[in-house]
């Protein structure tokens, strides 16, 4: 008979912080530069150099810890993690070992069925990134390489490592955790989270155990998953592999495995010659950091409203439905755009113009909201013109098209095209009288009791005024003229 197994997953996520310069020196962190053009004696690990911590790294790391509901340490320090590999010219990585910046946080994930699960965050710590290696030879695979090339531009780029508790139970939960984490980090402007540029990387610790058993099974560490979908697929495959192994009477070996996205399998990575023995010790070149309550509070004040809270507020404050609130809070840029555009006018109308007209157009043109030709103040002005009756909704679309085309303010477009709604009584009265004079038949019909003829007359007036006559006022004037 077969046993039911439970999957247990913990994730280690490395996130590149959005700083201009590296963690311990002033070299640029800009992605995509020519190899070895963003290096200096400090990040090359030349003898006699001293690292100095970038203050912004600490700020962003504290912000991340707060956004993930962590307890911040009072004292925190850096340690050296010693290992010999080409990606680290110093032969050690400056990281944090026994006194990390923050511990014991959590992230709530919501399943598609609406159930909320709280996933523990073990720790958040700061560290430096390693260099990039290219393995020259067949297929860029390390095993076939004839030589390796080292580019140290990435060496010393600031990272935080976020370690979760083994609280995730399905591949889908791992996926939801990562998307939730990414959303928070992007919103808080802690990282750009660009997966293609390696700003967010994830390793997974995966084990299985018979359902109901408290003790954890032997885990495998899975690497090389360069997208959230790959994490989901990799976790799923690896868990199935372990269950199959156990069902066949085998046993799981603790090892590092790599996800092969092309073949859709995990395979054992050649284990390093030495077992993990990094001989951590306190980094003597970097003094201890004392986190005062003041410092933490200053950062807390810069912490923006997080996506979950924003979605709820958009529904209560602006009266939007859940769907629209979700669309508008997809990125912090879009949410900011909406709030600026909705200021002092009808938020639902702004939401419609934004989600239907503007986003539709931007999607077609492959542009982001930041690249929008229509600025928030201009959309705001357009909605105000419509709401005040100075512009009809139909003409509004024409004005919007011109705005998007030429980047002009709505008032400018209205003036240029002569589209302003005619609301002043004298001008309207003249049009009304002209139309009545030109249509004696329908006028007689109306007076004879055929009320529906009024619609025809209104239509004629709108036609003559090229849609610019204010319909309410036209109705009012017509009745005044036609009533005995």
């Amino acid at each position: 008979m077969s046993i039911d197994y439970e999957i247990v997953v913990g994730l280690e996520v490395h996130v590149e912080l959005a700083t201009r310069s590296k963690i311990f020196c002033g070299c640029s962190t800009q992605f995509g530069a020519e190899p070895n053009t963003q290096v200096c004696p400090v990040c090359l690990g030349l003898p006699g150099t001293l690292p100095v911590l970038n203050r912004e790294v600490l700020n962003l790391a504290i912000r991340a810890a707060l956004a993930l509901n962590c307890e911040l340490a009072e004292h925190t320090k850096f340690d050296r993690k010693n290992y010999f590999y080409l990606d680290s010219p110093k032969a050690y990585q400056i990281s944090q070992f026994d006194m990390p910046l923050a511990k014991n946080g959590y992230l709530d994930i919501t399943s598609p069925n609406g159930a909320v699960r709280r996933i523990g965050i073990t720790r958040v710590h700061m560290e430096e990134d390693a260099g990039k290696l290219l393995h020259a030879g067949q297929g860029g695979q390390i095993g076939n390489a004839t030589s390796s090339l080292a580019d140290y531009n990435r060496t010393g780029v600031p990272l935080i490592e976020i370690v979760s508790e083994p609280d995730l139970r399905t591949p889908e939960e791992a996926y939801l955790y990562l998307t939730g984490l990414k959303e928070i980090l992007e919103f808080s402007k802690i990282s750009d989270c660009n997966m293609e540029e390696g700003s967010l990387r994830c390793d997974a610790n995966i084990s299985v155990r018979p359902l109901g058993q408290a003790a954890l099974g032997t885990k495998a560490e899975l690497k090389n998953m360069n997208s959230f979908k790959n994490v989901r697929a990799g976790v799923e495959y690896e868990a199935k592999r372990q269950i199959r192994l156990l069902n066949e009477g085998g046993r799981v070996v603790q090892e590092t495995r790599a996800w092969d996205a092309e073949k859709g399998v995990t395979r054992s990575m050649r284990s390093k010659e030495e077992a993990h023995d990094y001989r951590y010790f306190p980094e003597p070149d970097l003094p201890m950091i004392l986190l005062t309550a003041d410092m933490v509070e200053t950062v807390r004040e810069t912490l923006p409203e997080l996506p979950q809270a924003k979605r709820v507020r958009f529904q209560t404050q602006y009266g939007l439905n859940e769907y629209d609130a979700g669309v508008l809070t997809a990125t912090s840029e879009l949410a900011e755009y909406f709030e600026a555009a909705a200021m002092g006018t009808n938020p639902k109308a702004v939401c419609n113009w934004l989600t239907v007209e503007l986003l539709g157009r931007l999607n077609v043109e492959g542009k982001t909201i930041a690249e929008s030709p229509v600025k928030p103040g201009q959309l705001n002005a357009l909605v105000k013109l419509i709401e005040s009756g100075e512009l009809s909704g139909k003409l509004g679309k024409q004005v919007f098209a011109e705005m998007a085309e030429k980047g002009e303010a709505p008032q400018v477009v209205v003036k240029r095209l002569g589209l302003a709604q005619i609301s002043d009584v004298d001008s309207l009265k003249k049009i009304v009288m002209d139309v009545l004079a030109a249509n004696p038949g329908p006028v007689a019909e109306y007076r004879g009791g055929k009320a529906a003829t009024l619609g025809f007359l209104v239509g004629q007036i709108m036609k003559v005024s090229r849609g610019q006559a204010n319909p309410q006022k036209v109705n009012q004037l017509l009745r005044e003229e036609l009533e005995p």
Partner: protein
């Protein structure tokens, strides 16, 4: 029974990428043993109420602002590299 055996020295040397002769291993084993004895002596001190110390200097909170400064010229970076290629440091294949 000494705490630092020849095997301990061999392991530490391997982790530090050092090749030591048998004589050197014995020498260092003896020296490390003495250092450890001294540390054990320190352990006898009553340190109740003394906070843990990880750094010798009473410094804290030393940092720099997030400002980009010029990097080195690449020719200078690679000047001492024995086999540069395409702006990178080239080394023989890593895995045997």
């Amino acid at each position: 029974m000494p705490e630092i055996t020849r095997e301990t020295v061999q392991k530490i040397a391997r982790l530090a990428n050092l090749n030591l002769t048998g004589v050197e291993q014995d020498t260092y084993a003896g020296q490390l043993e003495k250092i450890l004895e001294y540390v054990h002596k320190l352990n006898q001190l009553d340190t109740t109420g003394v906070p843990q110390t990880s750094h010798a200097l009473p410094l804290q909170d030393v940092w720099r602002e997030d400002v980009v400064t010029p990097s080195l010229d690449r020719d200078e970076v690679l000047a001492e590299a024995p086999d540069p290629s395409g702006g990178c440091f080239r080394v023989p294949r890593i895995i045997e």
